[in-house]
Symmetry: C2
């Protein structure tokens, strides 16, 4: 195993937080494609204890960097860096870990290989076990695509993961969710400036369209009816569409957005080796104590879909976040939702 | 009043159906803009009776032609041409009535003026009263944008409209619905071939993106989960996205799609003169016996929004179509939904 730029991670053992990049070497994906000189970016919070029993893995959500999802981490929170060693793991394709935007030719941009959720968890598992020497994970937790990775952790490593808490996400992407993603993909790629991925400048018109479509899905009908964007400091609906949604995606690379979108569309824990292509078998094999949460008004990870998956997990507690913030109920924007999630995670960690 | 190409309409008096185009002359919109040599297309079913008491007005929905919405019309159905004189009214912008695609320069294409739901109903009222000499309407009925126009008929002409049955539509466009429309608009206009409306060839990539985004909104999560597109003869999800959704919009002109979208986004019965910009006042003024239906799983005309509006109407019966077909529950695709709607309309017409 090669290591490169791992100093920050090493220092995390002794300090309260640290960023790092773990060198995966020439990383062979499950498809057989090789991602040369692959990198896994991460950030740690807290200190690994002497018996290495306090690790939490927390993968990023769609288009997020590790710095975007720190809201559930802090003293007094469930993810308390005074107690836990929290490893925030950057998903492949997010622009910090290996991605179309930062991979050398000829595997750059439109040539970046397709990556699955399982590929991500294989890479993350290497960091956790080989990089940190951790053999037990106290909790795998994540929101949205982070939830997909948390599910995969529990399925791939049933004897290693003690607790799992995916929220507002599913272990297999549903057909309707896939259609939502087809829509945002079509919106982005309708911009001829995208040039099938070989652009020199970002296809910003397409990214803005992508963001406007996302805006309708990312929250709920009552959120907009009640103008709750005002709670986020936006003075009008259009101000919110531009200042929140367009800003969120314009800071990202178009090929990276499409790479993570492919990962999302193809998410299926049932495809884990040994599960015979059965989601039921995959989720039935989980031995972690599971807390599965859904947002009450989530339009693409619906409570019905999530409850069904929770019913397949032997020791699962299913809870609905009572919120009109749609999918964003799990993104730390609304204090009541944050409290609900934090309380639930505290209960799980105390068990 | 000028008339042109009105022969078919005239013949409708004596035959069981007939298409026509009513000449509106230089039609001054409420905004003050003039639509020169404006046309209102329509089709009639059945015969106007001697006392002209059996007329039903039935305006088209988004992107539909009159021929697309004939499913509730037929012998034995509520809209029975043996009993009623049903006038299917083509919305301005739909490509048959005056539209960006068929208006002469300089008011063509991107220069086509913005048209409201109220403008549509003013034009339709002229046809009904001046063209056909009708002073009472037995029923104003419509789905989706057709519902918007039906509401407007009841608000604008409380003494003329005896019954009103808008289904799967609202009298004022909600904020979330507006955001959904922002998304499809952005997807279409992300295609540089659109050329701000001055294209020589249709921006088909943008229209396909528009259609893919629409696909997620137009049905429901359980519709896709249950693969109900197979009931429509589609063999796969992608087959459905292309064969149903892309086909539906590729046959339309991009500027026409955007013109009707503007009408939809700006729909507000509260803007009717005399209503003091109050939706409550507008709906409270309805004297027609009202049957208001919503699709149980409709994602953009939600049951909650529709129920709220129904509560503002003095004599309204509110019913939810128990269906997983989302907004399409009102489009005549699913036999059970068709029966539900038809039975409800029969009850209203018998009252």
């Amino acid at each position: 195993m090669k290591r490169k730029n791992f100093d920050a991670a090493a220092s995390a053992y002794g300090s309260s937080s640290g960023e790092g990049v773990f060198d995966l070497g020439d990383f062979v994906l499950r498809s057989g494609a090789t991602l040369p000189a692959a990198k896994l970016a991460f950030k740690t919070h807290g200190r690994l204890n002497a018996d290495k029993s306090n690790a939490i893995v927390y993968p990023t959500s769609y288009a997020a960097h590790h710095s975007d999802i720190e809201w559930p981490i802090g003293p007094g929170m469930a993810l308390d860096p005074e107690k836990y060693f929290i490893i925030v793991l950057d998903m492949l394709g997010n622009g910090l870990s290996s991605s179309p935007s930062n991979t050398a030719a000829p595997h750059d941009r439109a040539n970046f290989p397709n990556v699955t959720i399982l590929d991500n968890v294989i890479a993350q598992h290497r960091l956790v076990t080989q990089g940190f020497g951790i053999s037990r994970v106290a909790l795998a937790v994540g929101w949205s695509m982070g939830a997909q990775q948390a599910f995969q952790w529990a399925v791939s490593h049933p004897d290693m993961v003690e607790r799992v808490a995916p929220f507002c996400g599913t272990a297999r992407t549903t057909a309707h969710n896939l259609v939502f993603l087809e829509g945002i993909k079509a919106a982005l790629t309708a911009d001829a400036a995208w040039q099938e991925g070989w652009y020199q400048e970002q296809p910003t018109r397409g990214i803005r369209a992508f963001a406007r479509v996302y805006a309708g899905w990312g929250l709920s009908q009552p959120f907009y009816r009640q103008e709750l964007y005002r709670q986020l400091g936006f003075s009008s609906l259009d101000d919110f569409l531009v200042g929140f949604w367009e800003r969120r995606f314009l800071r990202r690379d178009a090929n990276n957005l499409l790479a993570m979108l492919w990962t999302w569309q193809h998410n299926d824990a049932g495809a884990t080796p040994g599960c015979a292509a059965s989601l039921e078998r995959a989720l039935g094999s989980i031995r972690a104590k599971a807390l599965i949460m859904a947002g009450q008004t989530d339009l693409y990870f619906t409570p019905e879909d999530i409850e069904y998956e929770a019913s397949l997990i032997p020791h699962a507690d299913f809870r609905v976040i009572p919120s009109v913030w749609g999918h964003q109920a799990g993104n730390g924007l609304n204090p009541a939702d944050t409290r609900f999630i934090d309380d639930a995670l505290k209960g799980l960690l105390a068990a």
